[in-house]
């Protein structure tokens, strides 16, 4: 077994790991955690693995990781032979990747927190998280619009990186939190690019691109998208 993921199906952070693992075609084990309504992540024995009481938790053969962005880097380092997802040799791009990995935490604390509130009735300051979420989306939109002016499609460099995966879920899930993404054309185009990646998987709230599916029943991912 490559690693074990302590997973919650509705968590955007857990989905980041599932998504990158799928894109890199990595097999792994999962343990379903009853985050809601059970609150298992804040009880023993999970607190022994992660005293912070957050999900996901990644247990590899020699270490336990509890920060999502670190898990993405671990996955890319171990399973991306091309070194493109974590461009360790591209010193022009790497700082930008780290910049947007940091930014992803702002999406989690704003849109992620608001989404837990609107979806699962968890406590959150709705107006503060909403304002912070909109500010974060505007910043992301500005970046992606400018990348598009430069002829680039991804957050950093010329190909998708862990930064795109880190920022994707809570941006795509913003409607769950009551923040529609219709007003952000560059974001929508980038979401579409991520969803078009070979091996892309969905989570509840992020639908498959049905246009890429052969209605006669062949599996998705082999057909090119006609949209846009």
């Amino acid at each position: 077994m490559t690693f074990t993921l302590y997973n919650y199906v509705l968590s955007g952070n857990c989905y980041k790991i599932r998504l990158l693992a799928a894109l890199l075609d990595v097999q792994y084990g999962t343990v379903a955690v009853n985050f809601h309504p059970g609150g298992e992540h804040r009880q023993e024995p999970l607190l022994r693995l992660n005293p912070a009481g957050t999900l996901p938790i990644m247990v590899t053969s020699d270490q336990t990781l509890t920060e999502t962005q670190a898990m993405l880097v671990w996955l890319a380092q171990h399973y991306d032979d091309s070194n493109s997802w974590w461009p360790i040799h591209d010193l022009d791009t790497l700082p930008t990747v780290i910049q947007w990995l940091g930014f992803a935490n702002r999406l989690t604390s704003s849109i992620g927190a608001l989404r837990q509130h609107t979806l699962l009735n968890k406590p959150a300051d709705a107006s503060t998280t909403r304002a912070a979420g909109i500010a974060a989306l505007r910043e992301l939109e500005c970046r992606l619009a400018e990348q598009s002016i430069r002829g680039e499609q991804w957050l950093a460099g010329k190909s998708p990186t862990v930064a795109d995966i880190a920022c994707f879920p809570y941006t795509a899930l913003s409607p769950d939190a009551g923040i529609e993404n219709d007003d952000y054309p560059a974001i929508r185009s980038w979401l579409h690019s991520v969803r078009s990646l070979d091996g892309f998987i969905t989570m509840p709230g992020i639908h498959e691109l049905h246009q890429m599916r052969d209605p006669a029943g062949a599996s998705a991912g082999t057909l090119r998208d006609h949209h846009g």
């Binding site: 505007r138 939109e141 500005c142 619009a145 400018e146 598009s148 002016i149 430069r150 529609e180 219709d182 007003d183 952000y184 054309p185 560059a186 929508r188 639908h207 691109l209 049905h210 246009q211 209605p215 006609h226 949209h227 846009g228």
Partner: protein, 204 residues
């Protein structure tokens, strides 16, 4: 994608062969917003039950009843739509003709401001130095109603055109275009200027 004009919630989509359509954003079956749907060839399909609508708006395929012959009457309200100067123009009223933009402009980006159209235009018209540190200076501002087009001039003689669309929810979408020959740096400068313009217009 979803678009809003004054009173209408619209779905605007382009088929595989390039045909552009603008419809009421509501599936006639169970009311689902069609902007969540997916384009398959020359059809737009609803995300909920996969009803397929052809470019004329007519529903031609219901997956739950693959063999069913469908009456021509199942269709969302459709609107006239044209593409001109890199913008998509939709006519939701009886009259109306699209404006013509001066030739030689290309779309830069669209940005939504949390202000009314009036407040935004007042801000632009009332500001002779839009953003002193951005390298943009407006010299002329022209307007046409109901959609406002402003012509601004950058330092290096590149023109910026703003096509503004008010929405019922008191927001305004600004579609910015820039003269064709503007380079990457100039385009990014104008993008940043738009961000500043929005911040200023939204500040109380």
């Amino acid at each position: 994608m979803r678009a809003k004009t004054g009173h209408e919630d619209l779905v605007v989509w382009r088929s595989a062969s390039g045909v552009l359509s603008a419809w009421e954003n509501r599936c006639p079956h169970r009311g689902m917003r069609l902007s969540h749907g997916f384009v398959r060839g020359e059809s737009l399909a609803c995300a909920y039950h996969g009803w397929h609508f052809e470019c004329s708006g007519r529903c031609h395929y219901i997956p739950a009843h693959p063999e069913l012959e469908l009456p021509r009457t199942i269709k969302p309200t459709t609107f006239d739509v044209v593409e001109r100067d890199g913008l998509v123009w939709v006519n939701t009223t009886e009259k109306a003709i699209p404006f013509s933009l001066p030739a030689g402009a290309t779309p830069l980006r669209s940005i939504t401001c949390n202000t009314t159209l009036d407040a935004l235009t007042n801000h632009i018209f009332g500001t002779t130095k839009p953003c002193s540190n951005s390298g943009c200076h407006s010299t002329t501002v022209e307007s046409q109603q109901p959609c406002v087009l402003s012509t601004l001039l950058t330092d290096s003689s590149h023109r910026v055109y703003l096509a503004m669309q008010a929405s019922e929810d008191h927001t305004t979408v600004v579609h910015a275009l820039l003269s064709m020959e503007a380079n990457e740096t100039q385009r990014i400068t104008v993008s940043r200027w738009l961000e500043s313009l929005r911040r200023e217009a939204e500040s109380p």
